[in-house]
């Protein structure tokens, strides 16, 4: 076994095994999962479960296939099982000397990863479906199994998919899977049914018996007493005698003596300590522990948890590229297709050879797109993208073109413009976009990164694009 150890600061350690190098992440070390794109696999020291979960989640949640497809191995001394982490990871070893046994798996994953085709889509749903079917294909898996998970917002977790969502947006994993099923990528079977908050879709609910009038659970029960001789009926407190704790009828003043003979207790009444309402039957309310919404159980969203199987079409889509989904977003007005952009770039480079002018291509990248889109859903995502294009279009010249490289990256051309001016224009755009987002969407934090590449006719269009889009997925 060939092993060389290279210290790369606090980030991690590279371990070379055979023809592959592994990124070794020690327990509780600072991590930068982007490093993984230069490695064949990652080995995480599994001492602290929360730390392992955090690292594994950030790898699988990364938008770049160069990262999320990479095998994850755990270095753990014991054979303890942690269902969620075990699904996110590919295997485990007890010590680093066992890594060699994993080489065939690493090779197979690397090889199958090469077979995949990624078609850029500006639909977040399409991106996620592509991601999940790629993960399944590469690992030769067919099933997406829901795992009951206490910390999941919907009580069930689809590890490979749910990691892409914030805790509060986990329910959207179900929507993604349903879209995939509608498109024939998956077929499913029933596993369980959960009830989710109608406001925030959380499954963490507290079921309580409450007053039908004010929904308070602060109630006191009391026996109802029927006094036979005079027919008086009322709660026991009406009969309570302050002096000797005996029961006296408030109507005829007779002392109650023998249940079944001179009185009985035909029912129970509850009195609400909040609104004084008297009632016999509680309402059952579900209080959402996430958003605090307190409503009748009838208003909860009954949601099926299903087990999803990858279909032939799903496998094929992973290899040939997922063309479209029913929820795909049409071309945004004011933009051109990315392929057209590439063609135009090629012609522009050719033109520069003749004119020796100064032209640029730019990229505006949403660095936290997964977070943003998982919160918005396809309708709002479409709205956001349209708004972004409108703002950008208003700040560039009519002759310049805009295209989506992906849902998180917008590319644009700035022809016949000095790079300095181009940069100034480009750098002003994020502020305008932030202002727009602030007025249109509540509590939505979008991070932009801008990049400008001046065209050099000695380089090919592909090189320009590589330079422009490096690290953007």
């Amino acid at each position: 076994m060939k092993r060389s150890t290279t210290n790369i600061g606090e980030i991690g350690t590279t371990i070379e095994v055979g023809d592959y190098n592994f990124l070794f992440i020690r327990n509780m070390s600072a991590t930068a999962v982007e490093e993984l794109q230069h490695h064949a696999a990652v080995v995480i020291e599994a001492v602290n479960q929360d730390y392992v979960r955090m690292v594994a989640t950030s790898i699988r949640a990364n938008p770049s296939p160069d990262i999320y497809l990479k095998p994850i191995f755990l270095l753990k001394k014991d054979a303890s099982e942690t269902p969620l982490i075990d699904v996110l990871a590919d295997d485990s070893v007890k010590n680093l000397s066992e890594l060699e046994s994993l080489l065939p798996l690493v090779g197979r994953i690397a090889s199958r990863s090469q077979e995949l085709t990624f078609i850029n889509s500006i639909s977040f749903e399409a991106q996620l479906i592509t991601k999940i079917i790629s993960l399944l294909y590469v690992r030769e898996l067919k099933v997406i199994e829901p795992v009951p998970y206490t910390y999941s917002n919907i009580c069930y977790y689809y590890p490979l998919l749910s990691v892409n969502f914030d805790h509060v947006d986990e329910y959207m994993a179900l929507e993604i899977l349903n879209i995939g099923e509608e498109d024939g990528i998956f077929r499913s079977e029933f596993v369980d049914r959960v009830y989710l908050c109608s406001t925030c879709s959380s499954g963490h609910l507290s079921y309580r018996e409450v007053c039908p009038k004010c929904s308070s659970s602060d109630t006191t029960p009391d026996d109802v007493i029927h006094h036979f001789p005079c027919g008086y009926v009322g709660p026991m407190k009406d009969f309570s005698n302050q002096i000797d704790d005996k029961l006296d009828c408030p109507k005829c003043n007779k002392r109650l003596r023998h249940i079944g003979v001179d009185y009985d207790k035909p029912s129970i009444i509850h009195e609400c300590n909040n609104c004084n309402h008297s009632f016999q039957d509680f309402y059952v309310n579900a209080k959402c522990l996430s958003c605090g919404d307190d409503r009748s159980v009838e208003t909860l969203k009954a949601t099926d948890i299903r087990r999803y199987h990858l279909t032939k079409k799903g496998e094929l889509s992973a290899v040939k590229g997922l063309i479209t989904t029913t929820k795909d977003i049409d071309e945004v007005i004011g933009t051109i297709k990315f392929d057209t952009f590439k063609t135009m770039l090629k012609y522009e480079i050719e033109r520069l050879k003749q004119t020796e002018g100064s032209s640029n291509i730019c990229a505006i990248h949403i660095t936290n797109s997964s977070h943003v889109y998982s919160r918005l859903g396809s309708e709002l995502q479409r709205g956001l993208l349209k708004d972004l294009v409108t703002v950008i279009r208003g700040n560039i010249r009519t002759a310049d073109v805009i295209a989506f490289q992906s849902s998180s990256t917008i590319v644009l051309s700035m022809s016949d413009l000095p790079a300095k001016i181009g940069k100034r224009i480009l750098n002003a755009i994020p502020e305008l976009l932030h202002d727009l987002i602030k007025t249109r969407f509540d509590d939505l934090d979008v991070h932009f990164e801008c990049r400008l590449v001046q065209l050099d006719y000695t380089k090919s269009d592909e090189v320009h694009l590589q330079e422009l889009l490096e690290g953007y997925f």
Partner: protein, 436 residues
């Protein structure tokens, strides 16, 4: 037949006024004077008063809607689930809107609990209360009363339905006179076309309730607020701690309110429709129960109103006295009349019988047609009943009289009302022991 007719015509020719009175004194002294002349006279006075009081009534109506007090509608009953939805719908149509509806299920063994709960959940009724063990109508009504929050209480039967202004009209008398403690609604027969017996009851209800109670109310001797539709001041009912054990609890509560010094009024324009027994056999069962309660409550429990004491009130005395006289005493007096006729006028008995039938029938026609003119609203065409009026002599004069007699004797001699299954034995035992 021909011979009978010849004989009868000869009888009429030979009849002198002196003989006429000797043979038909019962009709003239009791029936004609009380139930025709006096009634007709007072009915006219009542109508005049009603006309004179129009501005006062309009003012009371205005004050009712300005104050807009919460009114609790109590619907106690057993196995009444099938009627509740229809009833609730009729209540939602009411012109008076500030109501709370409290349904008490008195130990039903059908699907009433399910229906009640679902209506409560749908907020169609305010409160559905259930006692798993049956306690009787009074206990169910008292339970509803205990949890009622309204300033006025309206007691309904679940199988009745109401004109859309019925609640408004039954509340107005409270605003016309602050000393009114209870108001009775006008109960008519819904299923009057179902059978002969229901048709006859419809005529009877018209005579005794619509007309009779207008008269007694005017005279201040109105004595029974029907359980099917009655309104009460909540403070008065709470003061009395609700209803006592039945059967006959509606008459009992009315007397108790009167004894407290409050007035009882009849609201002729507060219309309620009820379904009455559709066979003579079922009717006997119902009337035996009703008639027994007259003896039990008027002659025993509330006999104090007949004697001078510290709480003596003349109108209460008249109310009870008139009731006992005309329903109990004259009922037995009729048998005396019958005996006299059979003893001293035996050869003429058939002719006397025919004349009585003709006299009563003629009176019934005159009364029915004349009184119909005083009726503000009718749920059935008056002409429909005309053909059935001759039957009323036999229905009211013989059938109901016999039933009444049996009921009075059963109650007077054996206190049978305490064994009536209408009330659970566990409560009746105590009522009998206490003499209430």
């Amino acid at each position: 037949m021909e011979e009978l007719l010849d004989n009868y015509i000869r009888f009429l020719y030979t009849l002198t006024p002196k003989h006429f009175f000797e043979m038909f004194w019962f009709y003239f002294v009791f029936e004609f004077i009380r139930y025709f002349l006096l009634e007709f006279f007072v009915l006219n006075l009542a109508k005049v008063k009603q006309w004179v009081d129009r501005p006062k009534r309009e003012d009371a109506r205005r004050r009712l809607f300005i104050e807009n007090p919460l009114v609790s509608i109590l619907i106690p009953g057993k196995n009444e689930g099938k009627h509740i939805y229809k009833l609730v719908n009729s209540l939602r149509e009411q012109t008076y809107k500030n109501i709370e509806i409290i349904v008490v299920d008195d130990g039903s063994d059908d699907d009433t609990p399910t229906i009640g709960r679902s209506l409560e959940n749908a907020r169609l009724i305010t409160k559905f209360l259930r006692n798993d063990v049956r306690g009787g109508k009074a206990s169910a009504a008292n339970m509803a009363l205990r949890f009622a929050k309204g300033k006025y209480i309206i007691h309904l039967d679940a199988d009745c339905s109401y004109d859309l202004d019925a609640m408004e009209n039954i509340l107005i008398p409270f605003f016309m006179d602050e000393n009114v403690g209870g108001v009775g609604g006008n109960v008519s027969v819904r299923n009057h076309k179902e059978s002969l017996v229901t048709t006859l009851q419809a005529i009877e209800y018209f005579n005794t309730i619509t007309t009779g109670r207008t008269v007694t109310s005017y005279l201040g001797i109105y004595r029974i607020i029907s359980g099917a539709f009655g309104a009460f001041r909540a403070d008065v009912l709470h003061q009395l701690k609700g209803w006592d054990i039945g059967p006959g609890l509606d008459g009992d509560i009315t007397v108790k309110i009167r004894k407290k010094g409050y007035k009882i009024k009849f609201a002729q324009d507060a219309n309620c429709l009820t379904s009455v027994p559709n066979t003579f056999k079922k009717l006997i069962k119902q009337r035996l129960r009703w008639d027994k309660s007259l003896v039990r409550f008027r002659m025993r429990k509330h006999k104090d109103v007949l004697f001078p004491n510290h709480s003596f009130r003349f109108l209460n005395f008249i109310s009870a006295f008139e009731n006992i006289l005309y329903n109990v005493v004259l009922n037995f007096k009729w048998y005396v009349y019958l005996t006299i006729m059979l003893t001293f006028y035996r050869p003429l008995f058939v002719n006397i019988f025919i004349t009585n039938v003709l006299l009563y029938t003629a009176t019934n026609y005159v009364k029915f047609i004349m009184y119909s003119l005083y009726r503000p609203k009718a749920h059935a065409s008056m002409s429909y009943f005309l053909v059935y009026l001759p039957c009323m002599v036999f229905y009211y004069g013989i059938y109901l009289r016999v039933v009444r007699t049996i009921a009075y004797l059963q109650e007077l001699l054996f206190k049978k009302s305490y064994q009536d299954p209408w009330n659970p034995p566990k409560t009746s035992i105590h009522a009998r022991y206490l003499g209430i």
